[in-house]
Amino acid sequence: MTASARPEAIVEALGTAWTVFSLYPDPESQPAFRRAVELLQEASGDGAHLDLDSSGFSFSGEPVVTDREGAERFAKRCYLHRVEGLAVVAAPSPRDVERLFAGLAKDDATTSASGGIEAELRRDGVVSFSVAQRSLLRVVGTEDAPDRDGKVQQVLDAGVDAAAFAEALIEESGGEPDAVVDLFYGRYHETLDHLTEGDVFGREGVVQTFVEAFFYLDEPAQLGAFRRFLDSDEVFDRAFLDQFAGHELAKLAPRLDSQGLALLLDYARVATDQADGRPDELLGILKNPEALHSVREVAAAKVQERLGELTKAAEESAKFLAIVQDKFPDPRRYFYDSLEVFRGLLAVEDREDRFRRIMRVWVGKVSASVRASDFRRAELWLRSVTAKPTYPPDRQSDVDYSLAQIANPEILNHIVAAAAEKGEREAEKGSPEESALRLLQALGPRAVNALIDLLAEEEGRNRRRLLVGLLSRIAAEDPAAIVNRLSDDRWYVVRNLLTVLRETSTATASQAVVTATDHPDSRVRLEALRVLGISDSGATKRLTKAFADDDEKVRHAAIGMMGAAGTADASLALVAALDDRRTRHSDKLRIVLALASSENSSAIDALTSLAKKRFVLGGQTRSLRDAAQTALRRRQPS
């Protein structure tokens, strides 16, 4: 946008915002309103001064041409309020814009009664807009303005530019604060004395001009003048004070000496008798000087509380300091405050490359904290992103990528070592071990493979237990992550995984273990059988199949487990294997022992019939019979 296009853009933005403001109860929720405010903020740099007359806005004498209806409506509204100049002097907040509009939305009489839009804005603490309104009297003046004294008219005319008026007063007095005060106070009364009786608008204007000019005096002169008005009970001196908004009084209060402060407090105390008046309503009441006495107190209605605080503060600057020091931040919170800012950063950063950079900073922070064994800090850093995320959803993949970066074997190794430190004992609350554990839980799912590799190489008992426990928890949520690694060609890795899967009870997990019973490595097959156990419905079939395994340990384990199952089915399967020619002799001996340990009748029957065999051929059969007899004898005493 070029500099010459700016006034149009400002007027259009104001128009758009005004339209939204007129249509929606909560304009700030409307993107169009927010965009317009943003534009005004951007345009505020040096303050764009727009002039206004019946034909619309102009800038440096050139009419501002726009074809937006909203802009035109806004110009009309301003004109209705006799606005002759509007400037954006600082970046306005949405609230500032709403306050400006709220003023314009009121009817003209209300805003003039309260001293005009600009005065209202200042009272609301809005400093981003400057609104110049033509004096009411100059408009009214054409028809029925009373015949005014020249001095009064001069002041009223000057009211349009309070700063210049104040400057003129200062110049006239010589600038020395006491002289300024004398002249200011004297001129105020002198002008009021010259008012024609019944000229309420004139009175209003004079008071307002002096009040506004007051704010352009230097601080010493302000304090001096303010004291002068406080000292007096005279009705117009009170009227002057009544123009001050609560926060303005509060601001002046601590700078007064203790006597002045006492006077102000006195004033405020009387003023608060009247409960619900607002200081800006007072100008209207000026029309009726009799009512003043009872109503002027209203001015400070909301002030007393603050004044109370500030009195104490001002009487003793030590107490003021104490108040400030009360607001000192807690150094223990600094890190948390910084994390909040980091989260804020994630929320506002909408440029992809910069977001990625911030993610890299984050990876660095978590990793560095882990390497420094500051697991508490690492956890806080980690959670600053992952807990209640502030980043936009479409950045998820960047965050995932960064998490994967963090969850590398080197970092995990550090954490596992710390988390296992405490060994058997439960990690204490708030301890680094607890943080390390939570870090692992947070990072684990991103790092299953790395954890599995760690487990494969790990020999420490505590660390192994920790890793198995952690992986099982992960497997419970996401068995596939573990199951995928069952095809690892290192048998001990697979065996570890079976141990992990034992802790979970999902269908995927058990199916995967069943598959592992066919693993080429017997040690894996063995572990798989152990993991599966004997309680499920497929156990008999599975173990029977294992009777034929090439590996003796597997066969023996299967026979032993079958015996331990002790069901009729199991015994039948054992008996069948006993009768099977393909069954090796050494296995048959084991089967006899297994049957003996079974507690059901078919097992006992089978043993008994074996023991009673009369004609046995061959030493092997004989030894089987002997074994059966021995087993039965052992059972007898019970």
Binding site: A3, A43, G45, F320, S338, G344, L345, A372
Partner: protein, 444 residues
């Protein structure tokens, strides 16, 4: 403006000396820069046939006048000179190109020969230490200021080239600044009136740092906290490194795009500081992120968390506004200190923390140290001591006589029976307050 001529001269001398080591004797680039340096040297001699440049400590003097800007800007060059044993350079009309070449080569240590023709003479020392240095107490302050600038230059360079940096340097200079500001508050505030057009952001940052330290001391923040705060203050605008230079130096109102670029500097700064911060130093990033957040949280960038802007951020924002307002920018005239205070007051409660504004005003007084006041006599005085209200205003020195002549030596004077008619910016008064430090009796 001798300071400006001096800076030209030193700028070219520095380039010439650097290029000595890179290029053969007759290389056009070298020839050109030596010519420029020669011209600049002769530019210094327009009003005298001979001029002496003296280096004492970290300060650079042209004749008897200290040159604060050049002293700071060429601090490194000064140290190089001292390392070569040079503590004064006397220029004689007209400086010859050959001698200038010899001088540059000597400083670059590519040659051991001093200038042959005698138009430049080394170590003649027409002025002694006692002639020039009225108070060595400020050398330390000035040195810290210079080092802070150096640190900022270094950090910016690193950031600009996306290299990593850490906060060691910043922490180190800040410790010195804190110590010196706490022991010499008035002198520090006076030094903080230092401005630079070319390096606006760096000077501004050091000024804000000094003012923030002074304000923090005023509210009674413990010294350890002040140091943390000061790192944040020093680096609060560091994110501007990522704002295009043409936007920063744009001589007018900014357009939408430019303004958007500017508005990114808090978050850029915070990200850079976080990356650089060791554990315990992160709070500086909070200051960078929030220094435009406003007291009512309505500023930029938008705050997604619920707490108010951090106390440190509010404090730095107060000092930031004050220094920014009192600086002349390409698109805006400087405000007088008094006017700047009024702007702060106007924004108290919405833009700025009212308690801190109040304390700030209490600290600097109605007319802060360094304020230039025009009196009814036509003379101009400079405020040299803190005071609570105008009636107490006592420590002033006359810097410009009623007849409009600038005084070589400021004269202590009184405001008794005098009326202050106006407050002037240093541009209007033609006086650089910071350059007067050594010639005043200040606290510390």
């Amino acid at each position: 403006m001798s300071d400006q001529h001096m800076r030209d001269f030193f700028n070219h001398l520095r380039s010439a000396s650097r290029q000595m080591a890179l290029y053969p004797e007759e290389h056009p680039a070298l020839v050109e820069v030596v010519n420029k340096a020669t011209d600049a040297a002769n530019g210094l001699l327009v009003d005298a046939s001979e001029k002496a440049i003296t280096i004492i400590g970290d300060s650079l003097y042209l004749e008897r006048t200290i040159l604060p800007h050049a002293s700071l800007e060429f601090n490194r060059l000064l140290r190089d000179m001292q390392a070569r044993g040079v503590d004064s350079i006397t220029l004689t009309s007209r400086v010859s190109r050959g001698d200038l070449h010899d001088l540059a080569a000597f400083l670059a240590a590519t040659s051991g020969d001093v200038p042959a023709e005698g138009t430049i003479r080394l170590n003649e020392r027409p002025y002694s230490r006692s002639d020039l240095e009225t108070d060595t107490g400020f050398t330390g302050l000035r040195r810290s200021y210079a080092r802070s600038l150096d640190v900022l230059r270094g950090v910016s360079l690193a950031l600009d080239s996306e290299e990593s940096f850490d906060l060691t340097g910043a922490t180190w200079v800040v410790e010195q600044l804190v110590e010196q500001t706490l022991s010499q508050p008035a002198a520090s505030v006076l030094l903080s009136t230092m401005k630079s057009h070319d390096e606006y952001t760096f000077y501004h940052s050091v000024n804000v740092c000094i003012l923030a330290i002074a304000l923090a001391r005023m509210v009674g923040l413990p010294e350890e906290e002040i140091k943390l705060l000061a790192v944040g203050a020093l680096l609060h605008d560091i994110g501007k490194v990522r704002v295009p230079i043409r936007t920063l130096q744009w001589p007018g109102r900014l357009d939408t795009e430019q303004w958007a670029e500017i508005k990114l500097h808090p978050q850029e700064g915070a990200a850079a500081i976080l990356a650089a911060a060791a554990p315990g130093q992160e709070i500086a990033a909070v200051v960078a992120f929030e220094h435009h957040a406003r007291f009512d949280r309505q500023g930029y960038p938008s705050m997604t968390y619920s707490r108010p802007a951090h106390f440190f951020s509010r404090l730095v924002s107060t000092a930031d506004t004050y220094d920014a307002l009192t600086t002349r920018r390409s698109y805006r005239r400087a405000e007088t200190p008094n006017r700047a205070l009024r702007v702060l007051l106007q924004g108290a409660g919405t833009l700025y923390d009212p308690d801190l504004v109040q304390t700030f005003i209490k600290m600097v007084g109605v007319y802060p140290v360094g304020s230039l006041l025009e009196l009814d006599t036509g003379g101009i005085v400079m405020v040299t001591g803190n005071h609570q209200d105008a009636a107490e205003l006592a420590d002033v020195v006359l810097v410009r006589a009623p007849d409009g002549i600038l005084l070589d030596e400021p004269e202590p004077t009184t405001l008794k029976d005098r009326i202050i008619v106006d407050q002037l910016t240093s541009d209007r008064a033609g006086v650089d307050p910071a350059s007067l430090i050594e010639r005043l009796e200040l606290d510390g």
